[in-house]
């Protein structure tokens, strides 16, 4: 299995450098992953409640702060800012430190800024639940929160930029392009979106357009590059093979950079905006498949003939599921951007399905891959249970697929029913009833899966992981040869010691 991956044995200095980088970052990275996982669990429960209410409006109807209008935005915002952004911060900070081969010297500041971010997310979520939400999609946190989040973002990521800037040794690696791009794109997108919606006194229709753009820009210009950067790191790292093609990587990166910023305004098709805005948005969304093809071909060709790695390694399995999710995102985006679908789905559930596919089906899967890789290194313990990992994988995969399929299909039926304006509105709701029930059940499954993930991660955080030399692999016993690379003499020593 590892015949050709044995070729390069790292020297002692490399090993020491890795160890010192991991030690310098163990607290902030673990903090981001663990608090992200907690917010993810809360977001999933809120998603379950919101989805339940969409078909049975009497559910929890006595509780004011869990009404649909509050539970739903709290769910989406926590998914993006509580889980997504924090997982991304952990990945960016750790991967860029490793790739620029330097220890982090600002651990304390990153950790403080991370606490500030969590405080902002907590205050914003409580604001939404208590009825102070702003009502702008994905900007529902009360308007006082966003400068706090932006400030803490700067203090979390600026060190990674400095590390890359100060590292010597010439070449930048593919993963670094994506991660650095994400570091720069986030503040641009975040600041532009919030300034035009909350600060500048522009035309309200234009503000709504920028609000719609912001959601797609956040997905395509922050979550996407972080996920792809992680995938480009993990695939060659775990298989020990070089990335298939440099040219293809270049092509995929620039395709994303050129196409990504245009997407989003198709939400406002039919609104009194210059027509090119929604239609360019629709076009860009349908073109997302181009970087999808480039990345998919590149990573899958790298893995060709090494499928055993994907089966055995939890990191690789999640990552490849994420890459497939990116391809699905491209196809779905293309389908939903056709003028007919655009018109029909404008006020339906389909948009939600697309967002969940992007955040949970694509980004989160790659982030889980990264977390399963990074946590054993920074805690110096192995994952406790391959069953936990397996359950997490299958429950999440099937759960997210079900949510996505139910939302998109249900949304199409709902949209078609809304077009028949002579019949009553409740008709349209009843058409998607069965799909809404399916979504609720699937959120339940995802909740169980992420519960296993959360427990597992918290046990690792408490340093209760296995003290073993053997990685936790899926399928096969613990003592089999590792797909993460050959075991070294350190192992012999500890065997003796034990």
């Amino acid at each position: 299995m590892t015949s050709e991956s044995n070729t390069r044995t790292p020297d002692q200095n490399d090993l020491k450098l890795r160890a010192s980088i991991d030690r310098s970052l163990r607290q902030p990275v673990m903090f981001f992953f663990a608090s992200g996982a907690v917010w993810l669990a809360v977001a999933i429960i809120l998603g379950f409640i919101a989805s339940y209410k969409s078909h049975s409006s009497d559910f929890l109807s006595g509780i004011e702060f869990l009404t649909y209008g509050r539970a739903y935005p709290a769910h989406i915002n926590l998914l993006f800012y509580g889980w997504g952004c924090q997982a991304a911060f952990g990945l960016i900070v750790w991967l860029l430190a490793r790739l620029s081969r330097s220890e982090c010297r600002a651990t304390g500041i990153i950790l403080t800024a991370g606490h500030l971010w969590n405080f902002g997310v907590m205050a914003g979520t409580l604001g939404i639940l208590c009825g102070f939400g702003s009502g702008k999609p994905l900007m529902e946190f009360p308007p006082a929160i966003w400068p706090v989040l932006l400030l803490s973002y700067v203090f979390i990521t600026v060190w990674s930029f400095i590390q890359v800037r100060c590292s010597y040794g010439g070449k930048t690696y593919v993963g670094q392009w994506y991660l650095l791009a994400a570091v720069f794109w986030f503040p641009w997108v975040y600041l532009t979106g919030h300034l035009f919606v909350f600060v500048f006194n522009g035309h309200p229709v234009m503000a709504a357009g920028i609000n719609a753009w912001y959601k797609y820009a956040l997905i395509l210009l922050f979550f996407t590059p972080v996920a792809l950067g992680t995938a480009y790191y993990l695939v060659p790292k775990i298989t020990g093979r070089p990335i298939y093609s440099y040219s293809l990587a270049l092509y995929g990166f620039w395709a994303l950079a050129v196409i990504g910023p245009w997407a989003g305004m198709q939400k406002l098709a039919g609104a009194p905006l210059p027509q090119f805005m929604p239609y360019v948005g629709a076009t860009a969304t349908s073109l997302i498949l181009i970087p999808g093809i480039a990345v998919g071909v590149n990573l899958l060709m790298t893995l060709r003939g090494h499928q055993a790695h994907v089966v055995a390694s939890p990191s690789l399995r999640f990552t490849i599921a994420g890459v497939v999710g990116f391809l699905l995102l491209g196809f779905t985006g293309m389908f939903l951007s056709t003028p007919a679908a655009l018109k029909m789905t404008q006020f339906a559930l389909t948009g939600y399905g697309f967002e969940i596919l992007a955040v949970c089906g694509f980004f989160s899967m790659c982030a889980f891959g990264g977390i399963y890789f990074i946590v054993p290194r920074i805690t110096r313990r192995e994952w406790l249970s391959r069953r936990f990992i397996g359950w997490h994988f299958w429950l999440t995969t099937y759960g997210v697929l079900t949510v996505v399929v139910c939302s998109i299909m249900g949304g199409l039926f709902q949209g078609a029913a809304q077009e028949a304006y002579s019949s009553s509105w409740s008709d349209a709701a009843s058409r998607s009833y069965a799909y809404n029930v399916g979504t609720t059940v699937a959120w339940g499954f995802i909740a169980v899966g992420s519960f296993f993930f959360l427990i597992h991660l918290l046990l690792m955080w408490a340093r209760l992981g296995r003290r073993s030399q053997h990685p936790t692999l899926l399928g096969g016993s613990h003592s089999e040869q590792s797909p993460h690379g050959p075991d070294h003499e350190v192992e012999e020593l500890q065997t003796v010691e034990a």
Binding site: A19, P242, P274, Q275, P339, S422, V496
Partner: protein, 255 residues
Amino acid sequence: MAKSQHTNKIDRPDLEDSTNVVEKHEKLLEISASQARENQISETGMEPVSLWVFLASAIVLLIGGGVLGAGGKLFSYNPHPEGYTRPDFASDADTGPTIGPIVEALAKRGKNIYAKCSGCHGSTGSGDGNQYPPLAGSEWVTGNTARLAQIILNGLSGPIDVAGKTYNGNMPAQAPLTAAELAAVMTYIRNEFNDVGDVVSVEQAAGAIKVYESRPQGAITVKELDADHDQMLEGEVVDPSTSVNFETLQPAAAE
């Protein structure tokens, strides 16, 4: 290595002279096994990009171009893009609602009937300002319904003052009209061009036709209108928001 663990046959490197145990243990303390077993990332490969990738991208681009092309004139502000506005109730293509307020049901029919009036009075009811008087803002339209019904049924000859201006022409008789048609066109011109806000019911219109039939043939004059017909039509006043079936104009059963 893994095998030795199972067979419980352990190599003992610390008994070999060649191994510095202190040094090894130091290393062990600072480097975890997961870090030690990691591969190094190799240089990125230089495989040529397959033409299939470009072909697939070209197909995606074509589809994207189709989406962009569907946008039509990209730099125009079109407040009513095709497919995003409802068709007009009165248009032929529209099947429309079958149940709704009586004022809408009558106005929808009235618009079709008004088509033959619009040649003189204009499609917006503004007249031509010279020979044909306007209906919009005309006190003869907004005022008593009996006068209006008789003008429509009998036609009108001789001078008439409309909106502060005297017109002297001949309006041809529009009869025969059914009661429903008369009610529809009167409701239409009273509510579309003016802002009266009531409906002329079919029952009221039937009464007006009876009056018309009992009167000798020939166009009516202003003098006769003022003398005999300066009143509202008799019959029960219908609430304009009453829900009716658009086909039969009968009250719809409460749903």
